[in-house]
């Protein structure tokens, strides 16, 4: 290679090195500048926000506005918009009136119609903070916007405004199937607007597209009342399981005998997650008429369905101890285990054991009976552990008495093992020693198998 080309190469390498270093310095300076600007802006925002505490009168606010330069006005607009979003009562209405009076609201209306796409999205978002008929109309019109983020902002704003006049826009969005708007966002917005007038969205259940029907059923699951029952009863035969599952959820809101009949059909649906939703809805209805159906769900071949049935029973009866004995006597081992497992996850054992010091005699006896059932079913490990950890020595001693009264394998060994563990109360330890002396250890061979 010639000397000239070597020089050229050296220059190229040097250029690359300088270029890289230059970019690094530029990035740093840019970030530093940005950081400083942000700090200045935050400081200015804090100063302006301080002026608004306590909320200013309209005249004082106008005076402050007239004194501000362009940048400060922008910050003031942001503060007032935030106030419309977060504040309540007079503070909120005062800020909204000012934004309207000063012409900012009109500017948003103009931007949502004619602005660039990012401006349109911002305006659509901001229009949701101030309730006004013109804003709702503009948002409904913007539901057909070509830019997906504008449509998303429209859905959120209409949902925030909770105005039934916004429903046409939301229904248009639901039928348009925009991917940027999650189904549940649209459903929540529809539900917010259709509160008290659910029949307005019941028509979505007859839409040709599955996604629209799902959104409709989902929205109804939050606002359904007896007026939507005809539409829901038709929809339980929908070919799409997702729609049927959402319909089940909606039926859970309608406390009527007819809805119970419809739910009983859905509780036998071939698709497991529809059965799950139906059992969930039956639990929400809290009607004891649903008990046979829910008890049937406890023996389903799918664990999710069984768990939901146990949860539904908990919702209906509130972890009633007596139900344990009932399921123990009537159901299979699988049903019983599922019930105990699900309830214990919700703190059943703690609540149950607390019943040993209640003054309510009926509950006390029921608690004792349930504990005996649990011991008979071989679920002693958790009860023995309760003897160690339950807050309240009186309860622990009563529980201990129940445990030793029923001869079960390994119980005494487990209890004796508690003595050495940290946190074991000396009185409990003494009681365990005492009963250990009185009753000889029982081996598992002496006990019949734990079949239910």
């Amino acid at each position: 290679m010639s000397g000239a080309s070597i020089d050229l190469l050296a220059q190229a390498v040097a250029f690359l090195a300088v270029f890289t270093l230059g970019i690094s310095v530029a990035v740093y300076l840019l970030m530093d500048l940005r950081h400083r600007q942000q700090l200045q802006r935050q400081a200015r925002r804090v100063t302006l926000a301080a002026h608004l505490i306590p909320p200013l009168t309209p005249q004082a606010l106008h005076t402050l506005w007239s004194r501000c330069n362009r940048a400060s006005r922008k910050i003031l607009e942001e503060i007032l918009t935030d106030r419309c979003r977060l504040a309540e009562g007079e503070e909120r209405s005062g800020a909204a009136q000012f934004l309207m009076g000063i012409g900012i609201y009109d500017r948003w209306l103009q931007e949502i119609r004619q602005g660039r796409k990012s401006r349109r999205a911002q305006a659509a978002r901001k229009l949701g903070y101030v309730h006004d008929r013109r804003g709702v109309e503009a948002l409904v019109a913007a539901a057909g916007d070509s830019y997906a983020l504008v449509r998303l902002a429209v859905a959120l704003s209409l949902g925030r405004l909770k105005d039934p006049a916004g429903l046409p826009g939301l229904i248009h969005l639901a039928q348009g199937r925009t991917k940027t708007i999650p189904d549940l966002t649209l459903a929540a917005a529809l539900a917010a607007c259709a509160e008290g007038c659910s029949s307005l969205i019941a028509g979505l259940l007859r839409a040709p597209h599955v996604q629209t029907r799902v959104i409709g059923a989902w929205a109804l699951s939050e606002v359904a009342d007896e007026t939507s029952l005809p539409a829901l009863s038709d929809a339980i035969r929908d070919p799409d399981p997702e729609v049927r599952a959402k319909v089940a959820r909606a039926l859970g809101r309608v406390p009527e005998e007819r809805s119970l009949n419809l739910l009983s059909a859905l509780a036998r649906d071939p698709v497991p997650f529809v059965r799950v939703r139906a059992l969930d809805a039956l639990g929400k209805q809290k009607s004891s008429a649903a008990e046979p159906l829910v008890l049937g769900g406890l023996d389903d071949h799918m664990p999710e369905v069984r768990n939901r049935a146990a949860a539904a029973l908990r919702q209906i009866y509130g972890m009633k101890a007596g139900l344990i004995a009932k399921v123990h006597a009537a159901g299979s081992r699988r049903s019983f285990n599922t019930l105990i497992s699900e309830w214990e996850r919700a703190g059943f054992l703690h609540t149950l054991v607390a019943g040993l010091i209640t003054r309510d005699w009926v509950r006390f006896v029921e608690t004792q009976e349930t504990i005996r059932v649990l011991i008979a079913a071989g679920m002693t490990q958790a009860l023995v552990n309760m003897v160690l950890v339950f807050p309240g020595v009186k309860v622990r001693l009563r529980l201990l008495r129940l445990l030793v009264a029923e001869p079960r394998a390994n119980v005494m060994a487990d209890l004796l093992a508690l003595i050495g563990r940290p946190g074991c109360d000396p009185r409990v330890a003494q009681a365990i020693r005492k009963v250990a002396v009185m009753s000889p250890p029982i081996s598992s061979a002496d006990i019949k198998s734990d079949t239910v």
């Binding site: 690359l16 690094s24 740093y28 990012s118």
Partner: protein
């Protein structure tokens, strides 16, 4: 004759190195471009916040519940703070399943003491095969928490146990030593809800908590620790996530969802058999199996990335600890890619088969070998006069320039779109280390990866345990 043979060898090596160099940097440029496009689009969508609990109160009842599965092995120093941080997540419907994987320290005792746990007869609803469960605890004061004590079986086994006890349609797999930002879960769920039929996994971004002020399980003031290894890792993480995974996510070629923050559809994971317990990078292996399962059955599943779902984790602070971590990752990569070797260049696996997997094989597994051979052979060739120093200089300068450019682009993307480190000093440190990483660190990284490759090829893989120091709190 020997000289002519050496000439031919030099030519072959030069062509190989050049081919490697062009393919790696060309692909990285394309992915960087895609990442920039995707991050901008994501930021714009995130600004409108499709899941806005403030705007739509009813959303709180409609969003799907999520179970946070927290595997823990000897994490007594951080476990309580981690669980507290998780309980502070703003997502309305969460359950926490903490799994102690046969811990030999006071992990379970700490949890029992802090959350008034008591043993309960809770049974799993799933049927993934795992090591036996010793006890299940529920909390008397926190109904959303379930703690499982099981025999040791590794992180994957603990995650599978957590999945078995999960009762929600989605679960978040994470590390016990990580802190999740309160909004992170909502951000990740939003990505799923935009396309719930197809998105089965979402990965978040991992950032280093070292040097930041942590209070009540939350990172209050993100800052960088004055430690070479920590800052260099931050640069690497930013480059990997923002200039890499974002682009792969756009074309559905993402292979890695971080173990510290991965949101999964439970049904999909159960269908593919849960986590594999015989690899050291179970997260990568699971993602590859999800891709394979979906493409075999034409299900159209997607694995996505959420750059604003931030998870803070403690990074190794010494070269030794970092080396152990990197070796483990490289060994895991070898294991997983060997297991899925039938996916290479298979059109039926789409972008994953034709681009992602070959990229990982050629550039991640083969990279250290190419770099080592070029480092060893070029001086020999130069001393024999088979290559000239100008070629060498151009190669090194370009390698340095392009490597730095990717790091700078990642830092810029981070600062403009998803800023966390706002102090100029932190930015300056990141920039400085992005320039310096080519001198020394890159070669060390290559060495660790080579050692790991050697270990894999000659059967010396072992799980290396890292020690935790706990998070720095405001009081400290």
């Amino acid at each position: 004759m020997p000289i002519s043979w050496l000439f031919q060898l030099a030519w072959v090596v030069k062509v190989l190195v050049l081919g490697y160099f062009i393919s790696l940097n060309g692909l990285c440029f394309v992915i960087l471009f895609l990442s920039i496009c995707w991050c901008r689009r994501y930021r714009r969508a995130a600004d409108v916040q499709a899941i806005d609990f403030d705007a739509l109160e009813k959303l709180e009842k409609l969003v799907p519940p999520v179970t946070l599965v927290v595997p823990a092995y000897n994490e007594e120093r951080v476990i309580v703070q981690s669980v507290r941080s998780l309980l502070g997540i703003t997502y309305p419907s969460i359950e926490i399943v903490a799994v102690s994987d046969g811990s030999t320290d006071g992990t379970i005792e700490e949890l029992i003491r802090s959350f008034s746990l008591y043993q309960a007869d809770v049974r799993p609803s799933g049927a993934l095969a795992t090591q036996p469960v010793r006890a299940v605890y529920v909390s008397a004061i926190e109904p959303r928490l379930v703690v499982i004590d099981k025999q040791n079986g590794g992180k994957a086994d603990a995650l599978n146990t957590g999945i078995n006890f999960c009762q929600t349609p989605y679960f978040l797999a994470m590390d016990a030593d990580s802190l999740v930002e309160p909004e992170a879960l909502t951000c990740a769920v939003r990505v799923i809800l935009e396309d719930p039929e197809r998105v089965v996994a979402v990965g978040g971004i991992v950032r280093g908590v070292n040097g930041s002020i942590v209070d009540a399980g939350r990172v209050r003031r993100p800052s960088l620790q004055w430690n070479f290894w920590v800052i260099i890792q931050m640069v690497e993480y930013l480059r990997s996530f923002l200039a890499g995974r974002a682009g792969w996510s756009l074309i559905n070629g993402l292979l890695i969802v971080p173990g510290a923050f991965g949101l999964f559809q439970k049904a999909a994971c159960v269908k593919v058999g849960g986590y594999s317990t015989d690899t050291v990078t179970e997260d990568l292996e699971l993602i590859l199996r999800l891709h394979r399962y979906a493409r075999d059955r034409r299900l159209g599943w997607r694995v996505a990335f959420a750059p604003d779902a931030v998870c803070w984790t403690e990074m190794p602070t010494t070269a030794r600890a970092l080396g152990r971590q990197r070796k483990r990752w490289q060994e895991g990569l070898w294991q997983t890619l060997s297991r899925h070797s039938d996916m290479y260049f298979q059109p039926r696996y789409g972008v994953v088969g034709m681009l992602s997997v070959p990229h990982h094989v050629l550039h991640e597994l083969g990279g250290p070998l190419v770099e080592l051979s070029s480092l060893l052979l070029f001086p020999v060739f130069y001393s024999l006069g088979l290559v000239n120093w100008e070629e060498l200089a151009v190669y090194l300068a370009l390698a340095f320039f392009l490597g730095t450019l990717f790091s700078l682009a990642a830092i810029l993307l981070d600062q403009v779109l998803f800023p966390r480190h706002r102090f100029p000093r932190d930015v300056l440190l990141l920039l400085a280390l992005s320039l310096l990483e080519n001198f020394g660190y890159r070669q060390m990284s290559m060495y660790w990866r080579l050692v790991a490759s050697w270990n894999y090829l000659f059967g010396r893989i072992s799980w290396r345990v890292s020690t935790r120091t706990g998070f720095a709190t405001r009081a400290e």
